[in-house]
């Protein structure tokens, strides 16, 4: 289980980071979401992985650490709100600059425009 868990975290984080480095806002938002999934799983594993453990002492033979679960819950809520905000913000950026490039415009177009002006 540990190996599967670690591989999932690794794949999520790697794809998240890769997508975040893209030039369009949509992949960046998806990348941020995947990164936060990976981080949430990682945070959960900081309480050690156990099956059949309950977070209440005495209810089962092994008990699991309740704190990482509380931390993950908080991180999920915050991550969800932030994702909603960044989606709205990237839509506004698309509307404001008529382009979904993260810089609001494509650098090549900028250069082409500059060259045209220079030619005049």
């Amino acid at each position: 289980m540990e190996l599967a868990f670690a591989v999932v975290i690794g794949v999520l984080t790697a794809s998240g980071v890769y997508l975040m480095l893209r030039a369009r806002t949509f992949p960046v938002v998806v990348g941020l979401t995947m990164l936060s999934y990976g981080v949430n799983l990682f945070l959960f594993s900081s309480g050690r992985l156990a099956t059949g453990g309950q977070p209440i002492i005495g209810s089962a033979e092994t008990y699991s650490d309740p704190l990482p679960q509380a931390l993950v819950l908080t991180a999920i809520v915050i991550g969800f709100a932030m994702t909603a905000f960044v989606v709205v913000l990237s839509l506004r950026s698309l509307a404001d600059s008529d382009d979904d490039h993260v810089n609001g415009r494509i650098p090549e177009q900028d250069n082409a425009r500059q060259e045209q002006e220079d030619a005049k």
């Binding site: 945070l43 900081s46 913000l89 993260v102």
Partner: protein, 505 residues
């Protein structure tokens, strides 16, 4: 247990919630309530400063849970100093904001107060995860504030700011998870006890976690490789927001001081002084980068935004010594730079309003109205920021220069800081002489009116520099006491044994 500790959190929280429901109330009512809330926050902060000045730690345990099991608020001299510094800055920014900035959004005051709420939680909390939550609270309010205003110029810098900070939050969570998985606690006092006891095999995990925390705080504080988002974001924000954001980088610096002196301080065994050997060169490069940016700035706002980065470099250089003298010099400089940079953002906006289409660009333009008043304010701000006598920046930089001990530190710090200050002086003189002196013929049609709330708040923030000089004795005494208290971490860990309500006998 001291219930006063919750006041700087509850007051802006309640005020902010009120504002959220009052979007359609008359603007005078909203303004009155908002300013009243900020004034009350300042009063609460001053009360806490007086309380904290006896040098003891005061603890508020939420839900009466004994630390380290529950979340605690901890008040010490550093927390109180940061609270007062923020509240003073926020009050003047808020007064400036009611001069017209708040008109085109119904939620400006709510966001402003939530921003204060997040800042105050960050300064008071004694729990690493709660610090993360505080960062998120202040960040989400800052996203809203940064986007506040007309036009589309803020969207792209805002997007960069939000995405960078979301990535930063992810790194923060990873490092919190790493530290928790080894120590089993997130209470800062408990961490200070547990980290020296970490087993040999687990040390790399804690070390990696600690270094990743430095990356997160470095992103907030805008240390060099992580600082390029700052100038365009701050220069495009509306003036009172940019001025309030002068304290945002200081939150990162506060977190570095708090976490690295407490958890990775001298008593931390193998991990003592973690990251500090990185911090000194990075700080000096940040400083040089800020100076280069200031020299190349094309507008007054950009110039002041680069000044923020210069002050971050200066502060971190002093902090990275890890000595009482270094920290106290940094704290003295912190007060000076936060207020003056905030004031300079407001002055840049006032100049912008007087110059029509030239705005705050550093270009020749027709002679501005109120030139004497504005240029004197700019001169005072520049003198205080560069660190020329007789204003407070000079004394602060002198203290920082004196805090360097070893020969190589002295050589590096003195040369970079002094040459950097000289070039900053050139940047300010160039900007000031072009904007105020080199006039072309012409007449500016639309001028912003200098209402009392605008001019009073801007001049008050700048002239706080004089106040710091007049009160230099008590302030440096307080800064020294704060630094001494910070470096005596055994006293901080006593909060774990503080009696809860019902246990006191």
């Amino acid at each position: 247990m001291n219930h006063w500790l919750t006041a700087p959190i509850l007051i802006p929280l309640i005020g902010g919630i009120l504002q959220a429901f009052m979007g359609y109330a008359p603007i005078t009512l909203r303004r009155t309530l908002a300013i009243a809330t900020t004034v009350l926050t300042l009063v609460a902060a001053i009360v806490l400063l007086v309380l904290a000045d006896d040098g003891s730690y005061r603890v508020y345990a939420f839900g009466n849970w004994q630390p380290p099991f529950g979340i605690v608020l901890v008040l010490d001299r550093l927390a109180a100093l940061m609270l007062v510094m923020t509240a003073v800055l926020a009050l003047f920014c808020h007064i400036y904001a009611i001069g017209g900035t708040d008109e085109n959004s119904r939620q400006f005051h709510g966001l402003f107060l939530f921003q204060l709420l997040g800042l105050n939680i960050a300064f008071l909390t004694g729990d690493l995860f709660n610090l993360f939550v505080a960062f998120e609270v202040l960040l989400i309010a800052s996203y809203g504030l940064l986007m506040h205003g007309e036009g589309t110029s803020r969207t792209v810098p805002g997007l960069h700011y939000v995405v960078l900070n979301l990535a930063g939050s992810a790194v923060f969570l990873i490092s919190v998870g790493m530290i928790y998985s080894v120590t089993g606690t997130l209470n800062m006092a408990d961490l200070a006890i547990k980290i020296p006891q970490v087993a040999e095999g687990n040390l790399p995990l804690v070390k990696a976690g600690g270094m990743m925390l430095l990356v997160v705080f470095g992103l907030k504080a805008a240390i060099l490789p992580l600082c390029f988002w700052l100038p365009s974001a701050y220069a495009n924000a509306t003036a009172p927001v940019a001025a309030l954001f002068a304290v945002m980088t200081k939150v990162g610096i506060y977190a570095i001081i708090r976490v690295y002196t407490l958890m990775f301080g001298n008593q931390a065994g193998e991990l003592a002084g973690l990251g500090m050997d990185w911090l000194f060169p990075l700080a000096l490069i940040t400083l040089s980068m800020g100076v280069i940016g200031a020299l190349g700035a094309e507008s007054l706002r950009k110039l002041v935004a680069w000044q923020v980065i210069i002050s971050v470099g200066t502060l971190l250089a002093a902090i990275s010594f890890g000595t009482v003298a270094g920290t106290s010099a940094a704290l003295f400089y912190l007060l000076n730079t936060t207020w003056v940079v905030g004031g300079l953002f407001l002055v840049a906006d006032l100049v912008d309003g007087q110059r029509g289409s030239a705005g705050d660009k550093i270009v020749t333009a027709p002679r501005i109205a109120n030139r004497t008043f504005l240029s004197v304010l700019f001169l005072m701000g520049a003198v205080a920021a560069v660190g020329l006598p007789p204003l407070s920046g000079f004394f602060a930089k002198l203290l920082i220069l004196k805090s360097a001990v070893t020969e190589s530190d002295v050589a590096w710090l003195w040369s970079v800081l002094l040459i950097g200050s000289f070039f900053t002086l050139i940047a300010y003189s160039r900007a000031g002489s072009i904007v105020f002196w080199r006039n072309v013929d012409g007449h500016i049609e639309e001028r912003q009116k200098l209402t009392p709330s605008l001019s009073v708040s801007a001049s008050a923030l700048i002239s706080l520099s004089i106040v710091i000089v007049v009160l230099a004795g008590p302030i440096s005494r307080y800064a020294e006491d704060t630094a001494a208290q910070l470096h005596d971490t055994s006293a901080y860990t006593q909060i774990l044994s503080v009696p809860m309500v019902g246990e006191e006998k």
